[in-house]
């Protein structure tokens, strides 16, 4: 039977019906709603205060003013000191980098041990750990503060790193365990027959295969830790306040004239890192949030 004889007949199916046009209109409106705050942030940061007071929030600036950006970066006042967001950025980096490294490594080791080297009772503690992901931070903040001051690291860089490691652990352990559990078990058995032990198998077999899940974990942790406010406020101490805390201090000043353009420039600066991670990582980010959905 020659299939070439079947010619299309009847009217061409319409691609652009009224319904589809309506749908596109609706989705455009939604997109505008979602983009509006970002747009407002950007244009406000490029206006001067006169234009902000007299002009329209939604209009692009008549005169481009770059006054706000350097001020937000290095001069705006966060409480008593007026050094802008720069120290906050450095603090955030100092907090985020070690916290991500420590918490992801710990999550990987935990997941590996749970997936391949189960012992009696391990899953009981794993359950406890997962349960920890759902406890509101407010319940744990004060007792944890007491623990940290007892061991002398409260209000310091190691203190805040430890806290991020603790609160990142449930979700990281979970996603690493799930990933390792999905690997073919024969691989592990073969490595065992070849004489690999706990450490050797981890370094020579498991780590080389962990790239995708590590990317997901790192994205999850970088955005999560960068965006954290509460823990940074309580545990980092005055000298290590992360960017989010300083941003809030800049905007919520009680004295002087509020400079909305500086506020908005500072807000954009604070969200640059997570937005950058989001835009370059794309699908990985989606996988990360789907996996990290239970993170407190």
């Amino acid at each position: 039977m020659n299939t070439n004889n079947f010619q299309p007949n009847g009217p061409r199916p319409k691609h652009l019906t009224i319904g589809r046009i309506g749908m596109y209109c609706f989705i455009f409106m939604c997109a505008l709603f979602f983009l509006m705050p970002l747009y407002v942030m950007i244009v406000t940061s490029l206006k001067d205060m006169d234009e902000i007071r007299s002009g329209n929030l939604l209009y692009i600036p008549k005169v481009l003013s770059f006054y706000a950006w350097p001020k937000a970066w290095s001069e705006a006042c966060t409480g008593f000191v007026c050094e802008g967001l720069k120290p906050g950025l450095i603090n955030s980096i100092k907090i985020t980098v070690p916290s991500v490294i420590v918490s992801v490594s710990l999550g990987a080791i935990n997941g590996y041990a749970l997936a391949f080297w189960r012992f009696k009772g391990a899953y009981f503690f794993f359950g406890l750990c997962l349960f920890g992901a759902f406890i509101p931070y407010q319940v744990m903040v004060y007792p944890l503060l007491k623990i940290e001051s007892a061991i002398g690291i409260y209000s310091s860089l190691p203190g805040i790193i430890l806290v991020h490691t603790i609160f990142g652990m449930p979700i990281l352990t979970l996603i690493f365990r799930n990933f390792y559990a999905s690997l073919p078990i024969d691989l592990f058995k073969a490595a065992r027959i070849d004489g690999g032990n706990f450490i050797k198998i981890f370094f020579y077999v498991i780590i080389p295969m962990s790239t995708p899940i590590t990317i997901v974990a790192v994205i999850l942790q970088v955005t999560g830790i960068w965006n954290d406010f509460l823990l940074g406020l309580v545990f980092a101490g005055r000298d290590n306040q992360p960017m989010t805390v300083q941003l809030n201090n800049i905007v919520q000043v009680d004295y002087g004239v509020a400079e909305y353009n500086v506020d908005m420039a500072a807000t954009i600066l604070t969200s640059l890192v997570p937005l950058f991670v989001y835009f370059i990582s794309g699908r990985w980010f989606v996988r990360g949030i789907a996996a990290g959905a239970i993170k407190g």
Partner: protein, 293 residues
């Protein structure tokens, strides 16, 4: 002895997890509970006062407002995220052009900090220079958007900001569900001549129920903790009109030096989270396993 040394490396490597689970996750709750039964003020003290702190808590007007707010916020935020998230997922599922662009647009707020979200919306909703002002300049003099300074409406401003941030996340979860629907089901639905909206509402939605349930649980678990967003957007004001349990706890811990009260409130928060999660956890881990067998 054998049990201890068998698989020793694994046990050692899981030691941090075990210690943290016991001391932090379990220990902190026990600690909080014990001290919630005391009259601790500035420093934790073991002067036992029974359930007085809880009595005081339930009599407190501020706590009442906080609980009422968390219910309003929880309800509006959950429903808002689910409806908008599902709608966006359905729209994106229509094989539209520029799908990834739209997905990027709807999800980007989720990458931002709660503080940033709060501050942006604080500016957009600013009663003097914000959207209201723009509308007035366009000639809509009747337009009123004074939510941030209105005691009754301020909590809804928080809801808008939160939905803006969270809806994309629900969209991603729902879209994952929709993409998992078998093509044959769509074929048979179109052969039956069922309109699309009805197919989505009455056939597809029940089919992606696990995703819906997961979204609800995750959103609800996040609701109880809302803190940064409100701090940035309204600082709990005007007055204490938008205060929440999390704020009540933090205030009593760190600015009012009323530890006993804070512990009692945090224990109530914890119990409410357990109440939300327990049925879901039971379903997920127990009921499902049974079904699978």
């Amino acid at each position: 002895m054998y049990y201890l040394t068998k698989n020793l490396a694994s046990k050692i490597s899981l030691l941090p997890m075990i210690i943290i689970s016991l001391t932090v996750f379990v220990g902190c709750i026990i600690y909080s509970f014990i001290y919630s039964l005391t009259g601790s003020k500035l420093i934790p003290a073991l002067n036992y006062v029974g359930f007085q702190q809880y009595e005081r808590l339930f009599k407190s007007r501020k706590w009442d407002v906080a609980v009422e707010n968390i219910f309003i916020y929880g309800f509006v935020f959950t429903i808002g995220c689910l409806v908008i998230g599902f709608l966006l997922a359905v729209l994106i599922d229509q094989k539209i052009r520029g799908e990834s662009l739209f997905r990027t647009i709807f999800l980007y707020p989720y990458a931002m900090s709660f503080v940033v979200t709060g501050l942006v919306w604080k500016w957009v909703l600013n009663p003097t220079f914000g959207l209201e002002h723009s509308m007035h300049l366009w000639g809509f003099d009747w337009f009123k958007l004074d939510w941030l300074v209105n005691r009754e409406l301020a909590i809804y401003a928080v809801c808008i900001a939160a939905v803006w941030q969270g809806a994309g996340f629900v969209m991603v979860l729902m879209l994952a569900g929709l993409r998992g629907i078998d093509e044959d089901i769509w074929k048979s639905l179109s052969i039956e001549g069922i309109p699309k909206w009805r197919s989505y509402l009455f056939v597809i939605l029940p089919m992606i129920r696990p995703m819906v349930v997961t979204s609800i649980v995750l959103i609800a678990a996040g609701v109880v903790k809302v803190y940064d967003l409100i701090l940035a957007l309204t600082s709990g004001g005007p007055g204490y009109a938008t205060t929440t349990p999390a704020m009540y706890v933090m205030e009593n811990f760190f600015s009012r030096a009323n530890l006993g009260q804070a512990f009692a409130a945090s224990i109530i928060m914890f119990i409410s989270v357990v109440c939300i999660l327990a049925p879901w956890a039971y379903y997920e881990f127990y009921f499902r396993n049974k079904e699978a067998k």
